[in-house]
Symmetry: C2
Subunit: 110 residues, 2 copies
DNA sequence: AGCGCGCCCCTAGACAGTCGACAGGAGGAT
DNA sequence: ATCCTCCTGTCGACTGTCTAGGGGCGCGCT
């Protein structure tokens, strides 16, 4: 009831993460930052959603992890898109498009 | 796994239902049919999602229900958009647009 | 040296909403 | 009578998010 002011994403985080990794490997915190930035603050990724998602994706074999050190010289786990992850990204992107179009059709009929 | 040809909606059903009721009152089954039709079969509403959603919306006061008889002379519960439901629809539509745009921005950066 | 802050990782429990399957009643046609 | 279609509804399992924690380690400041 008490309508929490939020309107976070109900979309599968997965495709967003996958897409963010296309330019190159990144650590989790950086991924979240970038998504928020590129979406102009509309999409915010909570840590409690981020890490489970990351681990899920890794388990699926769509991304692979490797420890390294961040630009601030902190220990960080870098994730990279795998080949199957690339395919998955394409499939899910296509999926999103169809979904968005379909919802659009329903919503914009005067 | 066995890729059931569908890829149901992970979107809030609510806004779809609300929008479908704009032209006039409808019964639950008809709402589901119409959404599927307008979305060109991309969006399918399962019964197990539909009725809980309907009841939820009614409880929120966004739609009101009334028993009547369908065009096939069957007993059916007709739902109508209330005034607050109208407002809610506008808000959620706006919300969807922002979300879709944001996801689009992330996804289409080459 | 010691302290705090910002960066970066992770987990646990509660909770909401969907999915697939199932159940039931009532009208119309055979 | 019997069966099919229309139409409403519920239940348990599951997936995924949210809130709210906890910890470790550089770096700059005093």
């Amino acid at each position: 009831m008490n309508r929490p002011n939020i309107d976070l994403l109900q979309v599968t985080l997965d495709v967003l993460i996958l897409k963010t990794l296309v330019p190159g490997a990144m650590h989790g915190w950086g991924i979240a930052q970038r998504i928020q930035q590129v979406s102009q603050d509309v999409l915010r990724v909570n840590q409690g959603s981020l890490y489970p998602a990351l681990h899920r994706l890794e388990e699926e074999g769509w991304i692979s992890a490797e420890w390294g050190s961040s630009e601030n010289n902190r220990k960080a786990k870098f994730y990279r898109l795998t080949r199957t992850g690339q395919r998955q990204l394409e499939a899910e992107t296509e999926n999103w498009k169809r979904l968005a179009e379909a919802v659009g059709r329903v919503l914009q009929t005067t």
